[in-house]
């Protein structure tokens, strides 16, 4: 069965719908020219509102959004840089500590070495002084002993010649001095 003639024919469903729509439109004040005017009017209003009412605010919001995004990005960068700086600072601090400790150790060891060296030198010097003093003492003693021997010999010879009344010759004098020297040495 073909329904198209019923739809399209004069007085058919389409005609009836069209007539009904026209009647409804007229009832509610529809007018083609006014409708056309309203379309143009609305399009112009929409364009003007977009250009002068929303666009400035949307631009502001976009700029602000970009600034916030940049700010957040910068904050993130700064945070990252801070963390890196912290790590670097810790590294430097650790390195400095190590180096300082090393220097202290070296200083300690070199000071110890120097102190030891100085002590050794002082001990050497002291020993040398003592040895020298000892040598001087011995030499003095030898000299005094020699003088004593000489004096004692002279006294023995003088005493002997006075006691015996004899002039002592060279041999007597030598013998007496040797005896005296032996006695003194003993």
């Amino acid at each position: 069965m073909n329904y198209l003639p019923i739809l399209a024919a004069e007085g058919g469903i389409l005609d009836s719908l069209s007539e009904s729509a026209q009647r409804t439109g007229e009832t509610f004040g529809f007018n083609a020219w006014l409708f056309f005017s309203q379309i143009i009017s609305f399009c112009i209003v929409a364009f003007l509102l977009h250009k002068f009412a929303y666009k400035p605010v949307l631009n502001i919001l976009e700029v602000r959004r970009q600034k916030i995004a940049e700010g957040l990005l910068n904050a993130e960068k700064i945070k990252q840089q801070l963390a890196e700086s912290e790590v670097r600072y810790q590294e430097i601090l650790t390195k400095a500590n190590t180096e300082a400790q090393k220097m202290i150790d070296e200083a300690k060891s070199s000071a110890q070495a120097l102190a030891d060296k100085r002590a050794q030198a002082a001990i050497g010097e002291a020993e040398a002084i003592i040895a020298k003093a000892r040598e001087a003492t011995i030499a003095e003693r030898q000299r005094e002993l020699a003088e004593l021997k000489k004096e004692v010999t002279r006294l023995v010879i003088d005493t002997t010649s006075k006691v015996t009344g004899k002039v002592l010759n060279q041999d007597d004098q030598r013998r007496l001095s040797e005896e005296a020297a032996r006695e003194v040495a003993a």
């Binding site: 439109g25 009832t27 509610f28 004040g29 529809f30 007018n31 020219w33 006014l34 409708f35 056309f36 005017s37 309203q38 379309i39 143009i40 009017s41 609305f42 399009c43 209003v45 929409a46 003007l48 509102l49 977009h50 002068f52 009412a53 929303y54 400035p56 605010v57 949307l58 502001i60 919001l61």
Partner: protein, 340 residues
Amino acid sequence: MSNPVFRLRLPIASVRWLRLFVLFAAVWIIGGLVSSVSFAQHPEITAADPNAHAAPHAEAHHGLSPDAPVLYHGIGGHPATDSEPAKIGPFAATNSMLVTWIVAIVVIAFAQYATRRIKEIPDGAQNFWEWLVESLHDFLESIIGHDLVKKTFWFFATIFIFILFTNWAGLIPGVGTIGWGIPNAQGGLEHISRPLFRGVNADLNMTLAMAVVFFVCWVYWALQANGPGGFILHIFGPKGDTTGALKVLMIGVFVLVGVLEVVSIMFRPVSLSFRLYGNVFAGENMLESMAQIVPGLSWLIPVPFYFMELLVGLVQALVFMLLTAVFTLLITQHDEKAHH
């Protein structure tokens, strides 16, 4: 010991609102009293009407005419004369168009004022306007997504802000009550037959114009998102994963569903325009009826209904915007399964 003194310190914003409310209430009451006095001074006007005896109820309540009176009849058009009925030509203008332009100018002027000196930390008008636009943008973005809102924000924002402010502008005293009428025998004017201003959305031509503009944009966005083939497939194509004979059956079913979808799509401008027009037109008529129900209390009885109309104005703006946004989302979103 000092006596305790009760002090109430309202925030500056609350004080401003309070002042505005007091001013509004004062204007309302004075306006109401004046209109009551006006009614009392011309009790004979209704009685003097020749048709009053035939249809007293009809004359007592005139109501808003369904069609918006024409202020300019356009190119080649003319008002009704004794010999010829009125003729409307291209670029004709009605009183609702006048309010359209006044509202648009006020909104644009406010937006320009608010953004004349942009501050990093917004305050006052800039703060309010930024709040309105940004909230609307974020709200739409949460519904239709980032990409679509970038493309369509201008339209949906216009729809919401324009409908909202025109609906509220229709509630301002003077809209519908200042204009021309035919004086009666005593020279009194009891009914304004050609008001200078009319609620914008109480004009079917306006609501239909918005719906048709949306329809054109909708087709454009749909073609842009899907391409011509994709657009047709989106409407008539079978959904779901079927194979074999079931797939053939589903193709047939979805072609029929597509036909129904096309009918539904074609009726969208009608439903959108009549919903808005019906609500606003009914609201204005209701306010007028409430104002006339007890002449002496015409300044008081409509007050609750004014608050209701404020709400209706907001809800209708939201409904129109949401429906158009959802229609756009439905046609532009792609089937996720098709891409995998």
